[in-house]
């Protein structure tokens, strides 16, 4: 019923606007078209300056409402992200100045130079000096931005520091699998043809590689140590996904068949961030940032940043994946909680 009312009201508004528009056309013909045109010109000239003023107020108001919701007030949660924030501020400052100058000139000129019988337009075809100035200045400013940008770009994309914690993250429709190397600090080889969730090998680990025997596999939640660089090796099993880490200002695609990497240094634990953001529910989230199918928006992972001690405690509760695939080989066969299988991950995603 509501919808019909809405449509009826819409149609009515249309009719009213149409009638007014028609009437104003007749009036302008009666009044003399030239006179009506000049009157319209003044109205639109006034609206130009009004739009500028209300627009600027709108910009200020929007900033007031939404700036607190951006990630700036809480700051970056990674050391590298702080560089990105610095760059963002520089870029905002530069583009902001250009934005305000050009928009104000545009609408102010439109208002000031609206048609008037008293003025003749100035025949001004070109001026090489002016054109050189506004070619040169943007070129110089952009060079500065490029230099800054590339400096950080090469820093972020260079090799991760040697002491980094190595973690593998694999995306699939619609969840994340996380694999840690064991004591040998090496991840076992994988081959997608060996994938067999029924045999407790959802990631296709090649058990023939002994490096795989102490690797640990968990779903969805990644634990990392504060102030220690983390190097992610990123895989995908099916379509392209993307490991998006907004709080750390990092992002990298997960491409099937081509492993990618990303590294960052978390500087606040999850507990510290709860205080910094004044939000007791705060969690670091991994968002899939590359369209991957119907469950794209549910493809959520979690990162827990904690102290080395807490991390070690958590690691101690895990059992190598190898022993899940071959329970008979497990030297200490204590039944432990199994949270790794893909089905669990999907169940978690489905519940959301």
């Amino acid at each position: 019923m509501n919808e019909f009312f809405l449509i009826a009201i819409l149609v009515l508004i249309f009719l009213v606007i149409f009638q007014i528009s028609k009437a104003s056309e007749y009036v302008s013909i009666l009044k003399g078209e030239e006179k009506a045109r000049k009157q319209n010109n003044r109205i639109n000239g006034f609206l130009m300056i009004a739009f500028l003023i209300f627009g600027l107020i709108g910009v200020w108001w929007c900033n007031k409402l939404y700036y607190p919701k951006t990630l700036f007030p809480q700051g970056s949660a990674s050391a590298e992200g702080e560089n990105i924030d610095t760059m963002l501020w520089i870029t905002i400052a530069v583009t902001g100045v250009v934005f305000f100058i050009t928009q104000i000139l545009l609408f102010w000129f439109s208002f000031k130079y609206q048609e008037s019988d008293k003025r003749k337009a100035f025949y001004f075809t070109h001026n090489n000096k002016l054109e050189l100035i506004w070619t040169g200045i943007p070129a110089i400013v952009l060079t500065v931005l490029v230099v800054f940008g590339l400096k950080y770009w090469f820093k972020f994309t260079s090799d991760a520091p040697k002491e980094s914690q190595l973690i593998e993250i694999t995306g699939h429709q619609f969840g994340w699998e996380i694999r840690y190397p064991g004591r040998d600090r090496l991840l076992g080889r994988k081959n997608f043809k060996l994938t067999d969730p029924a045999q407790n090998n959802p990631l296709g680990v090649d058990w023939a590689d002994v490096a795989s025997h102490d690797d640990l596999h968990v779903a969805t939640t990644m634990h990392v140590v504060v102030n220690k660089p983390v190097k992610l090796v990123i895989n995908s099993q099916d379509v392209i996904h993307d490991v998006g880490l907004p709080h750390f200002r990092m992002k990298m695609d997960a491409v099937p068949g081509t492993p990618t990497t990303l590294w960052f240094t978390p500087i606040y634990t999850t507990a510290q961030m709860k205080i910094r953001t004044n939000n007791p529910d705060f969690t670091y989230e991994i968002s899939c940032d590359q369209m991957c199918g119907r469950g794209h928006y549910t493809m959520r992972g979690i990162i827990v940043v904690e102290s080395q001690q807490e991390f070690d405690g958590w690691m101690a509760t895990l059992k190598p994946e190898y022993y899940k695939a071959f329970p008979a080989l497990d030297p200490n066969r204590i039944p432990s909680k199994d949270t790794t299988s893909k089905t669990v991950a999907q169940a978690v995603a489905a519940k959301k």
Binding site: E25, V98, L106, Y123, P256
Partner: protein, 602 residues
Amino acid sequence: MNNEEVLHGQPLVVHDLGHAAHEHHHKETFITKYIFSQDHKMISRQFLITGMIWAFIGGLFSVIFRLQLGYPNQTFPFLEDFLGHWAKGGKLDPEFYYSLVTMHGTILVFFVLTAGLSGTFANFLIPLQVGARDMASPFLNMLSYWFFFSASIVMMASLFVQTGPASGGWTIYPPLSALGEASEGSKIGMDLWLVSMALFIVSQLLAGLNYISTILNMRTKGMSMTRLPLTIWALFFTAVLGVLSFPVLLSGAILLLFDRNLGTSFFLSDIVIGGKILPNEGGSPILFQHLFWFLGHPEVYIILLPAMGIASEVLATNARKPIFGYMAMVGSLFAIASLSFLVWAHHMFVTGLNPFLGSFFVLLTLLIAVPSAIKVFNWLTTLWKANIRFTPGMLFSIGFVSLFISGGLTGIFLGNSALDIHLHDTYFVVAHFHIVMGVASMFGMFAGIYHWFPKMFGRYLNNTMAYIHFWVTIAGAYAIFWPLHYAGLAGMPRRYYDVSNWESFKMFDGLNEFISVVALIVFATQLLFVFNFAYSIFKGRKVTTQNPWGSNSMEWTTPIRPGHGNWPGEIPEVHRWAYDYGKDGRDFIPQIEPVGESESKH
């Protein structure tokens, strides 16, 4: 062929007979006049109206998915009436949400802002403004529209298949788009999408070759390249971009069709999907992205350049002042067109691209800001000390400049790879390209429609409705897209059906509701425009003077309703550039007027 030969379809032996032959040419039936017309003006109207129908569909899709984004917890039973199993119980199915998003992008980018914009104005303006009877090949021109029409039919058909239209995003990245197991939309809907695009590309190539040869070969006497109006320069570069880049997308589309249907592995490798291990090895999904964006980035300028040309022309005409820095405007168009081929990988900074290679793309991308800045400052200087008439076309041109500035500046963020790491695929990108490419080009298109409607249909559009259309649309466009930058700075990913389960993004639900309401109002205002358009074709105020805007360019020297062939007698000769406004105390001096002896030089 020369101008007269084009019109009569066969070479004329004696050139002087051209005019006589013209007289007995008008035995046209309804079908040759309105359907299989070879008159560039009719073909342009066909492109325009088809484009507007697509714009309505594409816009309506955005309204439907904005309902989901604005009200994620509400149901809309009427949606089920229209969409059936795609909206069970009045709630959009996520799969169909993604189909809507995909189709919205595809339709607006290709069918509206490529075919609808340059199809309309290149066809209409090139012969009229360079002084030609018709296109170099009117027949190929007609074919170009009918290929576009068949592409439209195939795309339209894909909306009605059981598994739904393509749903992998308008960029159709494989493997998502290659594997039917990955999503419903990647079944038959995706094949139809690819076939439709292949037809569309054929249409664009036929059209582009025609535009280029017409501009290069069929200019009237005295119309040197440097006397061309900027619209023609812009449409020329647009056509060159299309001809060089669309074939690359065609190859990508064909290879993807092979991967989907013939078991090849161009884009597929190491895939386990739905528990099934696929045999494909050795392909690279990233290869597709290179092929796609090699078209995809020039495509952005295929959309934007015609709008720039139209805005330049309309601004100068209604400022009653020459366009400032004509040669710099042409040069910057050339620079933008050339650079647009060298920046495609800036869409791929986070795909694992070689960082060293990436650095070149950063440099070249930010370099585009220089010619863009030149254009903006030249437009501003054109307005300085002008005598502005706010015709609806002028308002939309000023709006275009404003939006181009706002959207262009955020490009500096995204082109800088280090910042792109954070902003890539967030709402910041959505805000950026909607403002600079979507709404700005739409404004260019509106400016063109309002400015040349009198020439196209011999009647005026209603001004009051036009003013309402402009002011609501520009205010609405900013209200919709400006706040999205903030969501993007918070890292909110695009293409999320619902953010309410995300601790990091759920605070933007209120904003989403506001945006949906504004989007609805803006959409309704576009309907007002469509109504004004349809009504004015038949009932608008009649044009009574040959040159209603006091414009210099050639199209206003034709009769009010020009027949096929445009000029009844000989095509006039051109003696000057198109921007002698306010020279020597005269309001305007048409291009066809010989240079007077005492006239000042510039």
